[in-house]
């Protein structure tokens, strides 16, 4: 098992480097699309952490939005524009929120967990919409970020954000991978299978889930921060349930089998969504809904499971 892991990590690392190197050669809109996709992939990583334990959160947009607004407000109120610092603050802010939310959320499972997380994100939406000083439904724009003193413009800015998102994404992927190989991470399947036995083996399941909620929240906040800087604008829609639904969609599409799936799946989703919106703007939601339905019914473990099946078939065919 460790052999496959090592190889997968190598391949993953190479792909990241490839993506980074390809940046300057790609047109702006693809770079921008990819940046958003990888920022969202971080949120999806958080969802995967929870999903493996049997918990589906329909409210990751809460942390996504908090991360975004932390970036926007910090820049506006304190003048800090350093991207690295802002992302760090966003992650911390979202993480603290997740710790607080976790005290309530970690006691529940299944549908209750899903609906409660949805409700909490909608509360934030409601508050933001009704707060005139924060621009209500229009939101407000994000100041241009700087990178350790360096202040790029236009294409250079796009590339800088792209590379930063790739870098943060890679770090996130590695950390989450380490987490999955730890006891707490590996407890996901046992908790999903038989919580009581896990308790009898000597573990507080609620505390492990609380930790997972926190990790997912921090990842969500970092993703939201990167997205906010890339788009240049924040608004309450980032907390709306359709945003959460989009992350859930990608997770279903990608499956929870691997960390890489989050990034690939997110890229595919962004591509498909842009394409559907351009080609059939009045039917793109229906398209997404149908794809989702088909995936749930016929490919419940996501696209990632196809890769696993192909790999296994290749292994059995070799004499």
């Amino acid at each position: 098992m460790s052999m496959a892991n090592g190889r997968a990590q190598l391949v993953g690392g190479l792909l990241f480097l490839l993506a980074a190197a390809a940046g300057p050669a790609l047109p702006d809109w693809i770079v921008s699309l990819a940046t958003i996709a990888f920022a969202n992939a971080l949120v999806v990583l958080g969802l995967i952490v929870l999903w493996r334990a049997g918990l589906v959160s329909f409210g990751q947009a809460l942390y996504y939005c908090i991360g975004a607004y932390v970036v926007a407000l910090t820049a506006r109120w304190t003048g800090i524009t350093d991207a690295f610092l802002l992302v760090l603050l966003a992650g911390i802010g979202a993480g603290i929120t997740a710790v607080l939310v976790g005290f309530l959320l970690a006691r529940y499972r299944e549908i209750f967990f899903a609906m409660l997380s949805l409700a909490l994100s909608m509360i934030l939406y409601g508050v933001l919409v009704k707060t005139e000083s924060l621009g209500s439904t229009d939101g407000f724009s994000v100041m241009t970020p700087t990178f350790l003193g360096y202040a790029p413009h236009r294409e250079a800015l796009g590339l800088a954000l792209y590379w930063m998102t790739l870098g943060v994404g890679a770090v996130g992927a590695v950390l989450v991978g380490v987490y999955f190989r730890s006891v707490a991470g590996a407890l996901a399947a046992p908790i999903r299978d038989n919580e009581i036995r896990v308790e009898f083996l000597g573990v507080s399941v609620n505390r492990v889930i609380h930790a997972k909620v926190t990790i997912a929240g921090a990842l969500g906040g970092v993703g939201g921060a990167l997205a906010a800087m890339t788009v240049g604008h924040v608004d309450p829609n980032m907390a709306y349930w359709t945003t959460s639904g989009g992350f859930v969609f990608v997770t279903i599409l990608a499956g929870t089998a691997s960390v890489a799936a989050a990034f690939v799946g997110s890229l595919v989703f962004e591509g498909v969504r842009s394409f559907a919106y351009d080609v059939m703007p009045s039917l793109w939601q229906m398209t997404l809904g149908s794809v989702l339905l088909l995936t749930i019914l016929f490919l419940p473990d996501g696209l990632g499971s196809l890769v696993v099946k192909l790999r296994r078939r290749r292994e059995t065919k070799t004499p």
């Binding site: 730890s182 006891v183 590996a186």
Partner: protein
């Protein structure tokens, strides 16, 4: 009523488990009352009694699944009454279940490995985060326990497809992989066919003896109880009505009247069942 415990605690020897005036009520239902028992280390205690007599309630209280209404439970002189099960497990008391509680989607090896990894980790969330689950030590413990319970041929089988006997062995193995000092087995042979019961108990008991574990097992088959127990506790209506060697307890007239039934002298040598 013969209640002298021949297996008295030798002076100076600390009992591994000591229970005093234990009681549990659910509303108006008294599930257990006046239970006072002392168990010396490495004894094998059989617990008999009809369904509903309070045996599983007793096990649940000792292992932290139920909070006693009254009384005290001490493990090696340390009060553990009302502690949650995960803390009690960390102290050294483990249990197996009437219906095997395993992780159906994982293989036998993964089941055992996660149990071993948890036992080796410190228990706090941060401590658990730090230690890798597939550490060589955990793997080694898992492999040796699988071998100890003789289920190596099922090592990579998905747990949901296991035959009942192997399930039970896995269930017990997971409770043992962390080297507990006291193990409570709740009907280890339930659901096992009569021929296979003895084989299973032989494997289990030799495994437990090799690790010097004190055992308390709930059982309905009197032949099994007679063969494997050093001492037998008889439960009836929520309390202990007899406590002695298997021969003594099974010969006790009250036990015979209420639990086992009077043994008929028949040629077929039918074993008793409660």
């Amino acid at each position: 009523m013969n209640t002298t415990a021949p297996v008295t605690i030798a002076s100076g020897e600390r009992p591994i488990l000591s229970v005093r005036d234990l009681e549990k009520t659910f509303g108006s239902l008294v599930a257990a009352r006046d239970i006072t028992v002392s168990i010396p280390p490495q004894q094998t205690v059989g617990v008999i009694g009809a369904n509903g007599a309070g045996k599983t309630t007793f096990v649940n209280m000792v292992t932290g699944h139920l909070m006693p209404s009254k009384g005290a439970i001490l493990f090696e002189d340390r009060e553990i009454t009302g502690m949650p099960s995960r803390e009690i497990t960390r102290l050294g008391i483990s249990r197996s279940f009437q219906v095997a509680q395993i992780f159906p989607s994982l293989s036998v090896f993964d089941n055992m490995c996660i149990a071993a990894a948890i036992a080796r980790s410190s228990g706090g969330v941060l401590g658990g985060l730090a230690s890798p689950v597939a550490s060589p030590a955990a793997i080694a413990e898992a492999e040796s326990t699988i071998e100890l319970f003789q289920i190596s041929s099922y090592r990579d089988t998905t747990a949901s497809t296991l035959p009942q006997g192997v399930r039970k062995l896995l269930d017990i193995g997971m409770a043992v992989v962390g080297w507990p000092r006291l193990l409570l087995l709740d009907e280890p042979t339930s659901g096992i066919s009569i021929e296979e019961k003895f084989d299973l108990m032989n494997v289990v008991m030799s495994a437990l003896k090799s690790r010097k574990i004190t055992v308390l097992f709930v059982e309905h088959d009197m032949e099994i109880v007679g063969r494997f127990a050093d001492r037998v506790l008889a439960f009836y209506d929520g309390t202990v009505i007899a406590d002695g060697t298997p021969d003594e307890t099974l010969a006790d007239p009250q036990v015979q009247e209420l639990i086992t039934g009077v043994k008929l002298k028949s040629a077929a040598g039918a074993g008793g069942h409660a």
